[in-house]
């Protein structure tokens, strides 16, 4: 067992494509680290460098304190679970799981013992003599896990292991993998593009974009205090509402959406570096669950909105709202790698399933005053003081 350290690791492919750019990350022994990001963000390349399947352009990568930049995959003592499982088709489940042990010269009885132990953990005991093709998707996934755990390696590397499973099985295996990882206490690097997997499985989550590490934190910190607009928009489903707004200082600090305004609680001026002076733009962020509908009465600090769309999910309704009289309504523009460049002044709110809201209704909403987020309008960085 060991810890893993990326120090300024960079990978440049032919054609000068910078897949991973100056990645520094430490995975503690026994930690479950999730690398998450949109496709092409460099997360899989980072994992493959750790496995030794890609060489490292610059920087240093160490496992258990030993720099492994030039160590062959077979000598790194890491186990990897592939997206397509990569089970050896002509070998039985038992042979698949015992292959690494056989190469390492274990005796037949030792191999059989370790394989049957791992099979018991994974509920695979009755399938040991089958070939992979005679297994279901979920069982194959378990065999791939089994192949990794029989070796008792220094680290587990998992490359989107659940993406080929159906939704229900994915939820099941999510819990299963997390359980096994806790049971064995082996440092794990888990790559996914699914932010729900990232949130539910990781001790810590590293969000990547365009080869660069955006933020690495516990799931809750990532959700509560995203370092930039990208992380805010990537984590959470539906994502955080990000609204382009103007700060107005004339009548006490407030945010201006066209003709409507919301006062900023005074605590934010000490916790955040808000632009001073009159009129500079910011990106204001608010999570859908922090957009609260005001039924009647007190209208202070509320915004008038119109219901554009409603999506009933059973347990809740997602309501898409547009600000009434908001000037300069812009359309959604999305960057190449999925990051939102500009957003319209619409937002999503979560409402109870029995609220009889209909498209076209006018609603008064209030933002939870403890949950405001501010991002730099130019760079997208959080304005929160660290």
């Amino acid at each position: 067992m060991a810890d893993i350290t990326f120090e300024g690791v960079t990978k440049i492919f032919a054609d000068n494509i910078r897949a991973v750019d100056d990645l520094s990350l430490h995975v503690a022994d026994g930690e479950f680290m999730v690398l998450v990001g949109p496709s092409g963000c460099g997360k899989t390349t980072a994992l493959r460098m750790l496995a030794g399947l890609e060489d490292i352009t610059s920087g240093s990568l160490s496992i258990g304190g030993t720099v492994v930049n030039n160590v062959l995959p077979k000598d790194r003592d890491v186990a990897m679970v592939f997206q397509n499982y990569a089970l050896y088709p002509h070998m039985t489940v038992a042979q698949n799981m015992g292959f690494a042990l056989k190469i390492r010269g274990y005796s037949k009885s030792e191999i059989a013992k370790k394989v049957s132990e791992a099979a018991a953990i994974l509920h695979l005991s009755e399938y040991l003599e089958r070939r992979p093709r005679a297994l279901s998707g979920g069982q194959r996934q378990r065999v791939a896990m089994g192949r990794a755990i029989v070796r008792s390696p220094q680290a587990f590397l998992m490359d989107e292991p659940l993406s080929n499973l159906d939704a229900q099985l994915r939820v099941e295996m999510r819990l299963e993998i997390a359980r096994i990882q806790r049971l064995l206490g082996v440092a794990t690097v888990y790559v996914t593009h699914d932010q729900i997997e990232a949130m539910t499985m990781g001790d810590r989550v590293a969000v990547m974009r365009g080869g660069k590490l955006q933020q690495c934190d516990t799931p809750q910190d990532l959700y509560d205090h995203p370092h930039n607009e990208f992380v805010a928009g990537f984590m959470g489903s539906p994502p955080m509402n990000l609204l382009r707004a103007r700060l107005d200082a004339t009548n006490g600090p407030s945010i201006e959406f066209g003709t409507q305004r919301v006062a900023i609680p005074t605590s934010y001026s000490s916790s955040h570096t808000l632009p001073s002076g009159d009129g500079p733009g910011v990106i204001f962020g608010i999570r859908p669950e922090d957009v609260q509908v005001v039924e009647a009465g007190d209208h202070a600090g509320t915004l008038t909105t119109k219901v554009e769309r409603r999506e009933a999910l059973g347990a809740e309704i997602l309501v898409h709202l547009s600000l009434v009289n908001a000037a300069g309504t812009s359309t959604l523009v999305v960057d190449d790698d999925g990051a939102v460049v500009t957003r319209p002044t619409t937002m999503v709110a979560k409402m109870g399933p029995r609220s009889g809201v209909a498209v076209g209704d006018h609603l008064r909403v209030r933002f939870n005053p403890d949950r405001f987020h501010f991002f730099d309008a130019a760079g997208g960085d959080s304005l929160r003081k660290s």
Binding site: P73, A79, M80, N84, A86, I103, R151
Partner: protein, 301 residues
């Protein structure tokens, strides 16, 4: 509004299952007819003529005497022995392309050019290949020029001229003609190998040789079996043009195979009855090879 047709007596007899069976037979009929016309009838004729003395025009029934004559003809046994010895070239006709394909699959520098070079002979007529080989092995040919140039003049050979060596030259030429096809077949097989399997094996601790043995070779087994069948069948039934150009079956009968013997007996000696019998023998041999091979492939999975 649509109405459902009440089944009449005839359509009650025509159940869905029966209709499918009838359709199956109808669709298979043209293929069956072709097989009977072009394989069944000629084989039947061949069996018939093997009991006759036939000069190409009149066939006289002589019963089993063709058979007893043939069995006592040493040339048939020589030809069979030559075919047997040529089987020794099969491992090379498979092994060499396997090595080439694995190397090309590693994307060695210039692999596209090499691929073309290795495949090119496949597009050339075996008659031409035979002529090239003849020039290569001839006493004043390329092989001896090379031996001279290297300064080993006392090793110079005349492979096509000696009974003991001509068959080796034929075997080498045969390997050469099969390299292109088999290399392509193995390259196709390698292209269907999931590269993550190799990566998984590398992480599992396997070196290049272990990966070849435990991952690549099992994956290629079906392709190797196919190449084996094709190579053996070619050896028995497609060598004629090579032999004709290269040695004409000689010296003596040193490079005469059963296939060449059929031509020799029928067209040179005008004994079509015996030739028909040899054809029958060749048919049985290739048939056995095919059936054994199908059994092997079938028993595998």
């Amino acid at each position: 509004m649509s109405t459902i047709r009440v089944p009449t007596t005839s359509s009650r007899w025509l159940t869905l299952k029966r209709r499918r069976q009838i359709a199956g037979v109808i669709f298979a009929l043209p293929a069956i007819a072709l097989v009977v016309c072009f394989i069944g009838v000629p084989v039947g004729q061949d069996v018939y003529y093997s009991f006759t003395q036939w000069d190409g025009q009149t066939a006289t029934w002589i019963g089993l005497s063709t058979w007893s004559q043939a069995i006592h003809n040493p040339n048939l046994w020589t030809a069979l022995r030559n075919n047997g010895l040529l089987l020794l070239s099969v491992p090379f006709a498979l092994g060499l392309p396997l090595c080439i394909a694995v190397l090309l699959h590693q994307r060695v520098a210039g692999w596209r050019i090499f691929r073309t070079i290795y495949f090119l002979p496949t597009a050339i007529s075996w008659v031409v290949l035979g002529l090239v080989a003849e020039r290569f092995f001839a006493y004043q040919g390329t092989l001896n020029s090379i031996i001279h140039a290297l300064g080993f003049s006392h090793f110079s050979t005349n492979m096509l001229g000696y009974q003991s060596e001509a068959l080796v030259a034929l075997g080498i030429t045969f390997i050469f003609t099969m390299v292109g096809t088999n290399t392509m077949l193995f390259l196709t097989g390698l292209a269907t190998l999931d590269p993550t399997l190799e990566e998984a094996a590398r992480i599992d601790g396997a070196g290049p040789w272990r990966i070849f043995r435990s991952i690549t070779l099992p994956h290629l087994s079906r392709f190797i079996q196919l190449a084996f069948v094709m190579t053996v069948i070619a050896l028995f039934s497609a060598l004629f043009s090579l032999i004709f150009v290269l040695t004409g079956g000689g010296p003596g009968y040193a490079t005469t195979t059963v296939e060449y013997l059929i031509y020799e007996t029928g067209f040179n000696q005008g004994d079509f009855g015996t030739a028909a019998l040899y054809g029958l023998i060749l048919f049985v041999i290739t048939g056995i090879v095919g059936v054994v091979q199908l059994r092997l492939i079938g028993s595998n999975e």
